[in-house]
């Protein structure tokens, strides 16, 4: 790609028609700015600043983006950093909602870029960044509402990188962010998590004992969570579940004097909608705890992992499956809403648990059995079978459950007991079953027919048109399984197969599903390709056969003919071994040619070339004495014969290995040779090739003629190290 020279760039910057080629040239052509003269650089910066000052929004946008690119150059940054940053701050200061938002986002991006480039360089930081930082922080806080996600993320970075400067803005930031969180409108999930991360990063600005602040914040959040959970006690009879009661006692007590992070909830039972605040608050608190437990800390913190898992267990234990509604809660709508909020709570708790598993790895494993135990409660069971309708109605919740189980199982490579997992497997298998619409039920018609009232039936029913399709083209009404569900279930299978020995029923069901899906996917595209996750599953199933009596290798080989792993199964190989292939003395090679030239013309041409090549190399006499045989070995010629060089192992032979003599005492053949390995192979007649040791060691101190190594002749992947036997002639 060609780039513009600087003169063109400078000219274009006076009033650019299109900025992108200029940006590309300035970024990619590293010599453009490095080789530029000082006056050119001054021109570049002054024209950029002119663009930034322009009242025309497009030109202003151009100027900001040129700053974004040229601040990568150290010379520009060092000499003009203050001006560039000052100009960007001015633009941000004067920004209001009537101006194009692109200018604001570009400006924030450019300021962040300059800060990133300066950070870590002591002089530049002292001279440029530190004086401007308070202005930047206050500006970000002031203009936060224009582009909240971008600004909040920028603030998090400033908090963690400049905690001392940020100290004075700590409270203001926290108040502003908490107000946003507790607002009645729904925030996008990415913005919400960004706000949580910023709040979680705030303890690092504390001057003394930030870890204590962090810890007390986490404990406050747990207390607040408990206080919200306790509200459910107004609707459900907690006393019925002693385990739940003891779990609640394990959580820290809530004090009336405790200052709450979020404002108090205003719940009115007569207004059902307000009850949803419960689940919203619990979700927010779980997300806040997620942020605290995953956001970077510059210091060591005490993570109350036990209490966090108890919180999760408590929330999941509150379920109408096990707890009855109190007598005074009679309204069916209220009951439905409570059920709905409980499901949301379960989902939030499981998401938090997944994140803990990802972040804390092994530290979760001591709780493994407990966690699996309480996750099992979530599986929708009715009369000892999985409730299909409930499962599909809350598919996302149960998918979250499966993903949590997957993340948890991923922490270990082998599980002894699979009984706890059967319910999850059954649930997963149901989720990926083909789905169809339920049979249409037209009770009115049926009743009419039964009464023999034919007259009324003659009247055309306009609604029956759609239903007729359902009866005649049932296949068109098969609901698609959401891709998210497919991925989630396949991830679970991928983790389950190698780690757990499932009962045969579940194992065969999974294998059947994988094979059927792979075949179906293959037939739906022109290239007969199978998706990556299915390939992984097939390989996994092949590597971990479980209780199978019949291998699925032939099926998988047919489905994935080009897979390298399957190829390794069908044509097994041993690792390349260290081996010697001796150098062939030139004279002997020529003799060999004469003997075999009629039979093997190809070989002759090859060796001729080699001879020419090798004859060009002038070997010093001193070295030649070490390489060439002092006493020619007659059978050296045999060594060229490819039969004597290691052959790739014959799979059939390898498969027959150790059948009859398995329990008999055998000795290692490699230990038998009594002389140098080269001589052993050389002394064997060509018709009966000798066994060559797998790893033939040789002493380099006294190299025998036939031990010289010809690396060019080696077919092996193993690269023999060139051993220098102390020959000083190399330097000559």
């Amino acid at each position: 790609m060609s780039y513009y020279p600087l003169s063109i760039v400078l000219k274009e910057l006076e009033g650019p028609l299109s900025l992108v080629p200029l940006l590309r040239s300035l970024h990619h052509d590293h010599q453009l700015l490095k080789s530029a003269s000082k006056s050119d650089l001054n021109h570049l910066v002054s024209r950029t600043l002119n663009l930034c000052r322009s009242p025309n929004p497009y030109l202003k946008w151009c100027g900001i983006n040129v700053v974004y690119v040229i601040c990568d150059d150290y010379t520009v940054l060092a000499s003009e950093g203050t001006n560039l940053l000052g100009q960007l701050i001015k633009i941000t200061e004067s920004y209001n909602s009537t101006i194009d938002l692109k200018i604001f986002t570009s400006c924030i991006d450019a300021i962040n870029k300059i800060c990133d480039n300066i950070r870590g360089k002591p002089t530049l930081t002292r001279e440029i960044l530190t004086p401007k930082l308070p202005t930047i922080i206050s500006l970000y806080l002031e203009k936060l509402h224009h582009q909240p996600l971008l600004v909040v993320n920028s603030l998090t970075k400033l908090i963690t990188r400049h905690p001392t400067t940020y100290r004075t803005f700590g409270n203001k930031t926290k108040v502003k962010l908490l107000n946003m969180l507790s607002s009645s409108y729904t925030l996008p999930s990415d913005l919400r998590s960004a706000i949580m991360s910023t709040i979680a990063a705030l303890p690092c600005i504390e001057k003394t004992e930030p870890e204590q602040v962090w810890e007390s914040n986490v404990r406050d959040a747990i207390r607040e969570l408990k206080s919200v959970i306790e509200i459910y006690g107004e609707f459900l009879i907690f006393e019925e579940d002693q385990d739940l009661k003891s779990l609640m006692e394990k959580l820290p007590r809530t004090d009336a004097s405790q200052t709450m992070l979020l404002p108090a909830l205003a719940i009115d039972v007569n207004e059902g909608l307000t009850l949803f605040q419960l689940s919203t608050r619990i979700s927010i608190l779980f997300e806040l705890l997620t942020a605290y437990t995953t956001t970077e800390t510059q210091f060591t913190v005490k993570v109350p992992i036990g209490q966090l898992i108890t919180c999760i267990e408590t929330v999941i234990s509150i379920s109408t499956k096990f707890l009855k509604f109190k007598g005074d809660v009679r309204d069916h709508t209220i009951k439905e809403i409570i059920n709905c909020t409980l499901r949301t709570n379960h989902e939030a708790a499981m998401k938090f648990l997944s994140q803990l598993c990802r972040s804390y790895g092994g530290s979760i494993l001591p709780f493994f059995n407990d966690i699996l135990g309480f996750l099992e409660f979530v599986v929708p069971f009715k009369d000892n079978t999985i409730n299909y309708l409930e499962l599909l109605a809350n598919e996302l919740l149960y998918l979250t459950l499966l993903e949590t189980v997957t993340t948890l199982l991923d922490l270990t490579d082998n599980l002894g007991d699979s009984s706890q997992l059967i319910r999850f497997v059954d649930m997963a298998l149901i989720l990926v079953e083909p789905r169809s619409e339920p049979e249409p039920t037209n009770k009115a018609n049926t009743n009419a027919n039964a009464n023999g009232n034919f007259k009324k039936n003659k009247k055309k029913n306009n609604n029956s048109a759609a239903l007729s399709d359902l009866l005649s083209h049932k296949n068109l009404f098969n609901n698609c399984i959401p891709p998210q569900t497919l991925q989630g279930v396949r991830r679970l299978f991928n983790v389950l197969i190698p780690k757990v020995n499932l009962p045969p029923t579940q194992h065969y069901k999974i294998i059947r599903y994988i094979i059927v899906e792979a075949v179906n996917t293959r037939s739906t595209n022109q290239e007969h390709k199978v998706s990556e996750d299915l390939i992984k599953l097939l390989e996994c199933a092949l590597l971990n056969p479980g209780f199978e009596t019949v291998s699925i290798l032939p099926i998988v080989s047919s489905i994935l003919p080009q897979d390298s792993l399957i190829s390794l199964f069908n044509s097994p190989r041993f690792p390349p071994l260290p081996q010697y292939v001796k150098q062939i003395p030139l004279e002997k090679e020529q003799d060999y040619e004469q003997d075999y030239e009629q039979d093997q013309p190809t070989l002759k041409r090859r060796t001729e070339n080699e001879t020419e090549d090798s004859s060009d190399d002038v070997i010093p006499d001193s070295k030649r004495a070490k390489i060439e045989p002092t006493e020619p070995v007659k059978t050296t010629v045999v060594e060229v014969n490819s039969e004597l060089v290691f052959q790739p192992p014959d799979p059939n032979q390898v498969m027959l290995f150790a059948t009859a003599e398995t329990t008999e005492e055998t000795s290692v053949p490699a230990l038998v040779p009594a002389s140098a390995p080269a001589l052993v192979s050389a002394s064997v007649p060509a018709s009966v090739p000798a066994a060559v040791p797998v790893s033939v060691p040789a002493t380099t101190a006294k190299p025998t003629p036939s031990q010289a190594v010809d690396i060019n002749e080696s077919d092996s992947d193993f690269e023999m190290p060139l051993l220098d036997g102390g020959d000083d002639s190399d330097e000559e």
């Binding site: 995953t294 898992i309 990802r358 059995n369 014959d650 290995f657 797998v694």
Partner: protein
């Protein structure tokens, strides 16, 4: 990139305060010494290193004392002395499991970082498991009838394998050992033992695992004073091969690609046993052993093709106590009972380097690959409060403990992805397009000529009226002056 070796000795019994005991961390290929740890001595396999570089640690079990000494990289003296329930004979570490389905990016290195578990064995045969970030004692188990010699852990951390003087090799499932649930239900977890192998007739001296990430392919090799090396398949619990060596085997090591087995014998000899050989009859390469076969390794090797004799000496008996193979499988690093550590070329069997000798039997050797930008001059960072590890507890964490379980960790961010200029430029290209007018209608507001001419006319008119007004006012003032004069007169 470089490769380094760390080694430590048992300590001279005459040197009661271990004044002469030093552990070294040196380069295998160069002459650089990366670190030295004073007063460091450990029983056989009684030391363990978390890694190399600043913020890494060395754990050393104190001989004949119920103490574990902790060293911080960059500090030569002992950083922490942690009391433990009893004397420890062997140590090993379990790192956090690597998840395969994690959606997150890898995390940055924390300044305060610890492996997951510390596994220790005692001379009384007890197995201890501590969680390092909390210090909680998660497991105490009477694992062996006699002293425990060594503990190793599979790469995934799923199984802990211990061997002892009772000639048994025990395989434990980590998750069951450390579970809080079992402890809550009963004091003794019953199902943690995955398998017990009791084929050796004399104490087991060493145990190594085949270097594979797949549990299905994992083999366990144990060596014993009965002169045998036994190969087991971990998951099928089968004895695969028995290698019969001419002498008692004191140490064991496996080629990184499982092609050769190196056995240190009690006469100072190291024997290499090839795991593959060429069948004389059909010229095919075959794996040695399998299906419970017994392979006798002949003592007869006059040309020393499979024998390293560098540790042998005439004056006294020398045991090869520790063995390790370099990353590329070409160098064998061996330590003996006289405190010598030799680096030998595997093909030529010659010593290419002799490291600084220690004053007693070498008890632990570890090889590590160092990155190209490895900086061993890194100083200790952080004050004691943020550097020292939590004390290892001496009371077993019970079932109720789980609610109070706390982890001392430093949380790190995910590794930040570099800004992608191409995607940024594509974004700018889209933004630029939004500034351009792509419609047929030109909605730009321009000042029309009519307006400008109007304003000029108005200006002229205004000027004319102003002038007229000024003249009128002047006339008025003049008249007023004349009037005043007339009145006054």
């Amino acid at each position: 990139m470089d490769e380094a070796v760390f080694y430590v000795a048992e300590g001279d019994p005459a040197d009661k305060h271990s004044q002469e005991s030093i552990a070294y961390h040196v380069s295998v290929h160069g002459h650089q010494q990366h670190a030295a740890f004073k007063l460091a001595n450990a029983p056989q396999n009684g030391a363990v290193l978390t890694g190399t570089g600043p913020q890494e640690r060395l754990f050393v079990a104190q001989k004949k004392k119920a103490l574990i000494n902790v060293y911080s990289w960059g500090k030569e003296s002992i950083d922490q002395r942690i009391p433990v329930p009893e004397e420890i004979s062997c140590l090993t570490l379990v790192h956090h499991p690597n998840t395969t389905t994690a959606i997150n990016n890898p995390h940055e290195l924390a300044n305060f970082r610890l492996p997951w578990l510390l596994v220790a064995g005692s001379p009384t045969g007890k197995l201890y498991v501590w969680e390092l970030s909390s210090g909680a004692l998660l497991c105490v188990k009477h694992a062996h009838y006699q002293g425990m010699r060594k503990a190793v852990v599979t790469r995934c951390g799923t199984f802990i394998i211990t061997v002892g003087d009772d000639g048994r090799c025990m395989v434990w499932r980590t998750i069951d050992l450390i579970s809080f649930t079992d402890k809550a239900q009963s004091d003794v977890s019953t199902n943690a033992l995955f398998h017990s192998m009791a084929d050796h007739t004399l104490p087991i001296t060493d145990v190594v695992l085949s270097p594979t990430g797949q549990l299905q392919d994992l083999k366990v090799y144990t060596s014993s004073q009965d002169g045998t090396v036994r190969e087991y398949d971990l998951l099928t619990k089968q004895l695969v091969t028995t290698f019969v060596l001419p002498n008692p085997v004191t140490s064991l090591c496996l080629d990184p690609a499982s092609r050769l087995l190196y056995c240190g014998l009690n006469n100072g000899v190291i024997r290499s046993v090839p795991m593959y050989t060429v069948n004389k009859h059909n010229q095919t390469l075959e794996h040695i052993g399998g299906l419970g076969s017994i392979v006798t390794v002949s003592e007869n090797d006059p040309n020393l093709e499979f024998t390293f004799v560098n540790h042998q000496s005439n004056d006294s008996e020398t045991l090869v106590t520790q063995l390790k193979v370099s990353l590329d499988g070409t160098l064998l690093i061996s330590g003996d009972s006289k405190g010598r550590v030799l680096i030998s070329d595997i093909i030529s069997k010659q010593v290419i380097k002799s490291l600084t000798s220690l004053n007693s039997s070498i008890s632990f050797i570890e090889t590590q690959v160092l990155p190209s930008d490895f900086n061993d001059s890194g100083l200790l960072r952080g004050d004691k409060k943020h550097r020292l590890i939590p004390n290892l507890k001496r009371i077993l964490a019970g079932g109720e403990e789980r609610h109070k379980h706390e982890l001392n960790i430093q949380i790190t961010d995910e590794v930040e992805e570099h800004d992608d200029f191409h995607s940024w430029l594509a974004q700018k290209s889209r933004e630029e397009l939004e500034f351009k007018n792509l419609s047929d209608v030109n909605s730009q507001i321009t000042s029309a000529d009519v307006e400008s001419s109007n304003s000029t006319e108005l200006q002229l008119k205004l000027d004319k009226i102003s002038a007229a007004y000024t003249a009128l006012r002047k006339n008025h003032e003049d008249l007023f002056e004349k009037y005043k004069a007339v009145i006054n007169d």
